[in-house]
């Protein structure tokens, strides 16, 4: 029995998700099935044929996901425009049909898809925008964590600082964009007119504080600092790497500024659970050296 039910479900899945040219009347939708075969499976009547009944599900499938993705990727949708966004979502769903039980994940591959999508070549920055928008969604629902408070850090004896290991909260991500897309996203979010961004790289940090998701542009050095935190580097190594060859007061000030900002934004945690042996090995690793 399960085989016959499975065949039916596979056939319906294929028919419901089959992209049809826009404007095709419901009664003309074959969806890969001969009309006679469809009528043998789905009982039609004088009000609605089998194909028309199937089309109700096909429309629901596509337009539900289109609406969901439009809500999740408002800037991507704005850049593409209504008609082109509809087309690109139709092509995206054909390439990346949803597989997760939550519809929220339907757009998780949209940025990857847009990297090579011919339909938006006039907007080469759109994949970066989609990646930033997806990162905001991930941050929104990432695991909760208790951020390090400035007073807690200040209470730690200074001689212990070099050995301290920090980490970032699960909701924090750093993304590297090829285009300066943060201004564009902010313009769309604020309902202002957007302009094509500059074709220069931009590092962006996304994080969550008090259930609100934020993003901002960061310097290359701050991006590297976040990478070091993610690797479990000690405070000593962090300072050494960020200062680089500069053994001046400006380097110290820069590190202080970063840490103050991270503390204020809830971007820093104490890594109490780091395995000592692994952490020590990481600390001994020479800057930019091989990892093997």
């Amino acid at each position: 029995m399960e085989k016959s039910l499975q065949s039916l479900q596979r056939l319906l899945y294929k028919a419901i998700t089959a992209p049809e040219p826009a404007g095709t009347p419901a009664h003309a939708l074959g969806r890969g099935l001969a009309a006679s075969r469809l009528e043998a499976i789905i009982a039609g009547d004088e009000r609605l044929s089998a194909a028309e009944r199937l089309a109700i599900y096909a429309n629901a499938y596509f337009y539900r996901l289109l609406e969901c993705l439009r809500d999740d990727f408002p800037a991507t949708a704005t850049i593409a425009g209504a008609e082109r966004f509809l087309e690109l979502i139709r092509d995206y769903l054909a390439a990346y049909p949803p597989s997760h039980h939550s519809v929220t994940y339907a757009g998780r591959f949209l940025a990857d898809f847009l990297c090579n999508y011919h339909g938006v070549q006039q907007y080469p920055f759109i994949a970066d925008v989609a990646r930033l928008e997806w990162t905001l969604i991930e941050a929104f629902q990432a695991r909760d964590a208790v951020a390090l408070k400035a007073e807690v850090l200040r209470a730690i004896a200074p001689e212990r600082w070099p050995e301290l290991r920090f980490k970032t909260p699960p909701a924090l991500s750093v993304i590297d964009c090829r285009w300066r897309v943060t201004e564009l996203l902010r313009a769309v979010q604020e309902g202002n007119e957007w302009r094509p961004p500059e074709a220069t790289s931009q590092n962006v940090v996304v994080w969550r504080q008090d259930a609100t998701v934020y993003y901002r542009e960061i310097t290359r050095r701050e991006r590297d600092a976040f990478s070091l935190l993610a690797q479990g580097s000690s405070f000593a190594v962090l300072c050494e790497r960020i200062a680089g060859t500069r053994a001046d007061s400006k380097a110290v000030q820069e590190i202080n500024r970063m840490i103050e900002r991270w503390l204020a934004d809830g971007c820093l945690m104490l890594d109490d659970g780091a395995a000592p042996a692994r952490a020590k090995a990481a600390a001994k690793r020479p800057p930019d050296g091989p990892t093997t």
Partner: protein, 304 residues
């Protein structure tokens, strides 16, 4: 499954994002909330914070859309484990999902698809429901879904199928009164016969919602006020099934919370009136004339 596993919670509404702020700030008078399980099956963030706060003050019920109990794919153990963890954390009065399938071969349609109504499909679904109940360590409710197609191979009516699954799986029924009305129109059957055929002891929750009229068919859109005909069916259901928790669903064009409260109050009034009539009717069965149905009057009373 025992009816006592599903206490009477009164008259609730679906918790929707549009009302989070108001519910948290004003703690409005409502008996209980139903929440969509998947919206809270996340690692962290605001949704879970909101649910924590809501749960401190109100009873809740978890209502899922992705169990895909009728699929031929293997049961999604990861999904069920996450659902169990959510239930353990928030202690809902019960957990429910739909009598349908939502995907196959690991792909998800994010829709509630109908099944062929045959005895073999009943056995297939019932076996899976029992497995889910074993994992969750609690009985679940299955809801009748709105449908726009039925299969030529079906050998039983929708109500026979629903009752047979509930019986064989030993699970409860979440009876969506609007879905019965929608399906009765779409597939031309008598909604009264449907309600009269469902076993009383299995029904533990009602859904009430609005739908949209597309001429040749009705679409279960949850974006309109409840139609008078659906209120009439609800009156019938309230008389037949007694004290069953009732939930107002509204998912699009969501009105002010106060309007949802008003609709919930309407359901309460109908329920109270139906209970009184049922008591009268039982008395009249002891030799008096049966009480007359007030369904037409209800249409004018509650149709606005």
């Amino acid at each position: 499954m025992k009816r006592a596993d599903f206490p009477f919670l009164g008259f609730g509404v679906g918790l929707r994002r549009e009302h989070y702020e108001l519910v948290l700030a004003e703690k409005p008078a409502i008996d209980w909330f139903e929440v969509i399980s998947e919206n809270f099956m996340v690692a962290g963030g605001r949704p879970l914070q909101v649910l924590e706060s809501v749960r401190e003050r109100y009873p809740i019920v978890l209502h899922g859309v992705s169990l895909s109990i009728g699929s031929t794919d293997r049961l999604d153990r990861q999904y069920i484990a996450e659902l169990k963890a959510l239930a353990r954390r928030f202690e809902p009065a019960w957990v429910s999902d739909h009598l349908c399938w939502t995907g196959v071969d690991g792909r998800n349609l994010h829709d509630l698809l109908p099944l062929p109504y045959t005895s073999t499909v009943v056995r297939h679904v019932a076996r899976r429901v029992r497995q889910v109940q074993d994992i969750l360590e609690r009985p679940i409710l299955l809801e009748n879904v709105s449908t726009y197609m039925r299969f030529a191979e079906s050998t039983m009516s929708e109500w026979e199928f629903l009752a047979a699954v509930a019986e064989q799986a030993d699970c409860g029924i979440l009876l969506d009164v609007n879905n019965i009305f929608v399906n009765a129109f779409n597939h031309r059957f008598d909604p009264v016969q449907y309600i009269s055929s469902i076993p009383v002891e299995r029904v533990a929750q009602f859904h009430l919602a609005g739908h949209s009229d597309h001429g040749a068919y009705l679409l279960d859109t949850h974006d309109h006020p409840i139609r008078p005909e659906v209120w009439s069916l609800y009156e019938l259901a309230a008389r037949r099934f007694g004290a069953v928790s009732t939930l107002i669903e509204w998912d699009d064009n969501i009105p002010q919370f106060s309007e949802l409260q008003t609709v919930a109050k309407t359901a309460r009034r109908i329920f109270d009136a139906s209970s009184a009539r049922e008591r009268d009717s039982q008395k009249s069965n002891d030799g008096k004339k049966p009480a007359k149905s007030s369904a037409p009057a209800l249409q004018s009373d509650y149709g606005a």
